[in-house]
């Protein structure tokens, strides 16, 4: 059976606005989804402990190869010149557009 809330709300003669339903609508279901997440998390830690030969990034032979001070592609080391060019970035202030939306009267949670 398809549940149609729009029908319910009209039948109740209630003004529109889901806020009347309170804030705990999905709490229960979200909690069960989080059990599900715990199962995936557990599997991750199990793989970390049992499946991987090395457990620290600095022990990975391919990390030693790429950062090799003589022949490595990133021979000037982590945060070196080449890393800065390829692997680091800068960020962009995106607040103006949001402020403009707020000025137009839109409301957000923060």
């Amino acid at each position: 059976m398809k549940m149609n809330r729009r029908g319910f709300m009209k039948a109740c003669g209630v003004m529109a606005g889901y806020a009347v339903l309170g804030v705990n609508l999905t709490k229960e279901a979200v909690a069960s989804a989080m059990d599900f997440v715990a199962m995936r998390q557990k599997s991750v830690y199990n793989a970390d402990a049992k499946l991987y030969k090395f457990r620290k990034s600095q022990d990975n032979p391919m990390i030693k190869k790429i950062y090799d001070p003589k022949k490595g592609f990133l021979h000037d080391g982590p945060c070196g010149h080449k890393s800065h060019h390829l692997l680091h970035t800068h960020y962009i202030d995106r607040s103006a557009h949001l402020q403009a939306l707020k000025k137009k009267g839109l409301k957000f949670k923060i």
Partner: protein, 419 residues
């Protein structure tokens, strides 16, 4: 529109478009029942009621962090993805002049199996690599390798910042992680004053893209311009990240296409590959081999733990005998810890799961009251394993549906009784 593992996708692979103008997630108004579950889980309030029927919409891309938590929590399956590169990737795989490389994220291998009937969380990394080879990817590289690179870069940056304190032009503490694209856009939008606290490191995929077209090109003797790089993520927001105009440091687009776990499962099924009977294979080593520190990136607290496994050894000059740093492992909410490092003192860290929690830590930093050296933020509760691009368990959606209906019925009866 195409249905992919229970989610609708608009099959557009936008080229040269401004990602800030795209809806990566939107509501199909015809399917929306106005229950408001999406609005409740959205940290920014980007998704909200637009009319008297309570039909919900993402009102503007500027307010949406593309996390997809609304999508995975909609009991009616009314929310769709706006961008899918699947068709373009299938074309590139057929083109003999294009070298297609795969770059799967850690968390994908803990979700993909579920699309083929495996129990929740089953590790299918070996089968995933084999399936990618069978699909015709020319090189099987791995975002776990670049997660290890990220630790080297970001851990080193943290140590530099710690040592700089008190000096002129010191970069501020705490340092925030920068691997989660929902969080990075959130910081840029709501806390731009804290951008100097954000690690300057690109995310693991932000690093693997350019490494593929430079280092990878050098190692395989294939010109970078022939390489088409495919990011495979548990995430929707990574599609936005892949399109960031500044990610072209290799001299090309660093990341050509981004898909998520659901789309990879779809491609494997469409190709008629019997996933469950596949043998386990390894990625191609040079940009593929990884460690346990890389695989835990998929969990909230994982980047923190992996970084501490490096920072401990560098700061103390001693070997860390037991790499388990369980105090930082985070299931939900905010987790804080003091980690004692011999010869250095105490490293104070915090892990936030969910942007509402991140905002609390940001407010502390803004007020100058944050005691931490290092803060990890993941937008999705529990981390990437619970990302917006992961398979949806049919049971979870059914239980969302049941609880929504039950709540509405309860209110309905209460109102009738009091009328």
């Amino acid at each position: 529109m195409k249905q992919i593992e229970g989610v609708m996708y608009q099959t557009s692979a936008p080229k040269g478009k401004d990602p800030d103008k795209l809806f990566f997630v939107q509501v199909d108004a015809d399917k929306c029942e106005g229950c408001g579950s999406c609005e409740e889980v959205c940290a920014t309030g980007a998704i909200q009621s637009i009319n008297d029927d309570d039909i919900h919409q993402v009102v503007d891309p500027a307010a949406c962090m593309n996390c997809g938590q609304c999508l995975v929590n909609c009991p009616y399956g009314a929310i769709y993805e706006g961008v899918s590169y699947v068709d373009e990737i299938l074309e590139k795989l057929k083109d003999p002049n294009t070298i297609v490389v795969s770059m799967p994220a850690p968390a994908v291998r803990y979700g993909l199996g579920e699309c083929f009937g495996a129990p929740t969380g089953t590790y299918v990394g070996g089968k995933m690599h084999t399936a990618l080879r069978k699909l015709g990817f020319d090189y099987i590289w791995d975002n776990e390798f670049s997660a290890d690179v990220t630790i080297m870069e970001e851990g080193t940056e943290l140590i530099q910042r710690v040592n700089e304190q008190g000096k002129k032009d010191a970069r501020p503490l705490p340092q925030f992680t920068s691997c989660c694209p929902g969080w990075v856009k959130f910081a840029e939008t709501f806390y731009p004053d804290l951008m100097p606290n954000l690690s300057s490191c690109k995310s693991p995929i932000g690093m693997l893209g350019p490494l593929t077209k430079t280092y990878g090109a050098q190692e395989t003797k294939i010109p970078g311009k022939k390489i088409y790089s495919v990011s495979i993520m548990p995430c929707i927001a990574k599609k936005y990240e892949g399109m960031r105009p500044e990610l072209d440091d290799s001299g090309f687009r660093d990341i050509d296409a981004t898909i998520n776990t659901r789309e990879l499962a779809y491609m494997i099924k469409q190709a008629g590959i019997n996933f469950n009977s596949l043998p386990d294979q390894r990625p191609d080593p040079v940009l593929g081999d990884s460690t346990g520190a890389a695989t835990i990136f998929g969990n909230s607290g994982g980047v923190m733990e992996a970084a501490l496994r490096l920072a401990y050894e560098v700061l103390s000059g001693q070997r860390l005998d037991n790499p388990d740093i369980k105090v930082v492992r985070t299931h939900e909410g905010i987790n804080t810890a003091d980690v004692k490092v011999p010869g250095f003192g105490t490293v104070k860290v915090a892990v936030a799961s969910g942007l509402d929690n991140a905002a609390k830590l940001c407010d502390e930093v803004r007020a100058g009251k944050s005691p931490y050296h290092f803060i990890e933020v993941m937008t999705c509760p529990g981390g990437c394993v619970n990302g917006g691009g992961q398979p949806l368990d049919p049971e979870i959606r059914a239980s969302l549906f049941r609880s929504t209906v039950a709540q509405i019925n309860k209110r309905f009866r209460a109102r009738k009784a009091s009328a």
